[in-house]
Symmetry: C2
Subunit: 430 residues, 2 copies
Amino acid sequence: MTQTPIRSTSTLRGLRCRECGAEYAAEARHVCEWCFGPLEAAYDYEAIRSRVSHQSIAAGPRSIWRYRPFLPVSGERLIDLGTGLTPLIRSERLARRLGLKALYLKNDAVNVPSLSFKDRVVSVALTRARELGFTTVSCASTGNLANATAAIAAHAGLECYIFIPADLEAGKVLGTLIYGPQVLAVDGNYDQVNRLCSEVADRHGWGFVNINLRPYYSEGSKTLAFEVAEQLDWQLPDHVVAPIASGSLYTKIYKGFQELIKTGLVADKPVRMSGAQASGCSPVAEAFRGGQDFVTPVKPATIAKSIAIGNPADGIYALDIARKSGGSIADVSDSEIIEGIKLLAQTEGIFTETAGGTTVAVLKKLVEAGQIDPEETTVVYITGNGLKTQEAIAPYAGEPLQIEPSLASFERALERARTLDRLDWQQTLV
Amino acid sequence: MTQTPIRSTSTLRGLRCRECGAEYAAEARHVCEWCFGPLEAAYDYEAIRSRVSHQSIAAGPRSIWRYRPFLPVSGERLIDLGTGLTPLIRSERLARRLGLKALYLKNDAVNVPSLSFKDRVVSVALTRARELGFTTVSCASTGNLANATAAIAAHAGLECYIFIPADLEAGKVLGTLIYGPQVLAVDGNYDQVNRLCSEVADRHGWGFVNINLRPYYSEGSKTLAFEVAEQLDWQLPDHVVAPIASGSLYTKIYKGFQELIKTGLVADKPVRMSGAQASGCSPVAEAFRGGQDFVTPVKPATIAKSIAIGNPADGIYALDIARKSGGSIADVSDSEIIEGIKLLAQTEGIFTETAGGTTVAVLKKLVEAGQIDPEETTVVYITGNGLKTQEAIAPYAGEPLQIEPSLASFERALERARTLDRLDWQQTLV
């Protein structure tokens, strides 16, 4: 399904500074020359409104590209590996455990091709990169972005350089190397990697998906909002819980909902936006708690490496959205993250990475604090797969019972296991 | 989306012996009492034909359950995590590399929830298990089945026991334990594990998805045929290449195509069926090469553990289909499997496990041997995810370049890498 041709004229009108409103052509740039504010894609919403309907979307590709008029590309050559349209699962067992009536799980742990929401943003960024004439693409990544960029660049035949912190999980390193890019492991944390990449981007003129292509890249996360609305039969949820790393995903989900309202695809209603961070890297949650409208950078120290961004680019926008929408931003400890991963796996059959464990643990925390109404239609975003961060969870997942290939050996092991269970149970009674 | 209610009367008519045709009620049994042949689900195809159309399927759930009339369940409570409807990718770069004009990749490496085709068969088996009153489910597995059974049992709230060979890949063990089943690691190979499980099934009366529930379980693989046909706009391909372990997946894909013809959903045409095995466990390929109509069991010794079944239950049926359809069954070495994994990742951005590497390597081998016509519409089944078998590929995937977080360090590393590339290149010229 590569390069599905879609007949349509572009709705992308250029870039606009989020702070001062200055306008730019839709080039590879991400910072306003006047005020240094971040640039965002700007669209002709009248054109979108006149062109898009529930039916036209349903008749589109089985991927994020069904929402193409809302995405910042101009040509017909789309990079389409079937990314997006991941399941929205109505939770039964987790919902019951938490006492929620209408809980949904958006499962990007099974996104295509590389098992995280980053497949969305990279599909958009590299499609735009190709339109802008780049033949070499790159990124600074905490892992999931590395996987997605390497995979999708391989598919599209683009040359690829990936920058990662040297201490990344083995699965994320292998899950990048396998696609054959040049991988640079930087002896530093993500924020240092990111700074280095800004210099490399200036020097080499490559397309960095999360730097000079950031205005295009970040828009891909809006599809997480579009899909949820479509999967709820074109209704918005009452409350969403999403992880916050740079804050980009969280703010773009909000933007996606607003665009659906603006173009008449859903009825206008409030959506409470709650955010999840790991306590070992929770600058936005700290600011939320402290009532600040600025974010003080921190040095990350958490197992949730994929969301460990100490100096979040969109932190202040996330704060603003949480406050004006009536949501919360909370953080949870590494041990709560582990419990969140296990809780989701054991009640719903979804194995997520540490970021997903963070989100589930924050959901639980917000429910316990009375900040999620049991009657609210609540959507939790599960953004990556547990097979990528095995070292974080392996020590806590238990061990198989070792047996010989005989019925007698099995029966003995079963008896031992049941006795242990009984003992555990008796101990909990003491 | 658990337990989607669908209004429909069951088309399942019972079980029938594949060898002698004896008929049985649709219970938990898998072997004919008269001739010891395998039992298969039997349907009322007239009822299916009158009830099913391209439109009714398109209007169904976004999962394997859109093909429900072809699946062996009778009730309304379906276990649906969004399994199936995985992408069918039109290959460009791999096709060009191999000189094929119309190559498609069916990507079950991103299946839901546990990243292999086993999610299909287990969703069907556990739905049926619940209909038959089982509250405890189990399986003997080389890994992917363990993952799928544990995940889907957790989602459905069924008690779960999983039997695996003790030497399984770490990712497959963790990717089972995480869902909280009782895991039994058996000191033996898969065939020994399987024999033990037959005894346990008799003794404990549990629902073993691949033993007493096998007639239901195996039918789930037909959805791999249905989806490909639907994704090709209700055309059958000319040639498919699929892995052969027990032979079940391969034979059920064939059965799925035949059922579509029988019910008028596609035009009748021949489909050449080719099968892939690892040389370290290739009893069916050996029999194919030797012109035998029986399969001599072997002791597996290959990195492709998920397809290492030395005594394949459906081997003789696979042989028959390969011969009558004009396909081939071939095998490849472990080093060819590694190359197959890398080739697929680097040309298409799909990271598959050893079974998928086997299938791609066999595809390449068949093309080179002139056994696949470049003009044929060829579909290759990629059945599982590479993150599950990291130890098999890690030593061959290369290493990142280690750098300091400075532009100077990066430039030095880049220069070194380019020099090494040039040296490699010069050496290839020598």
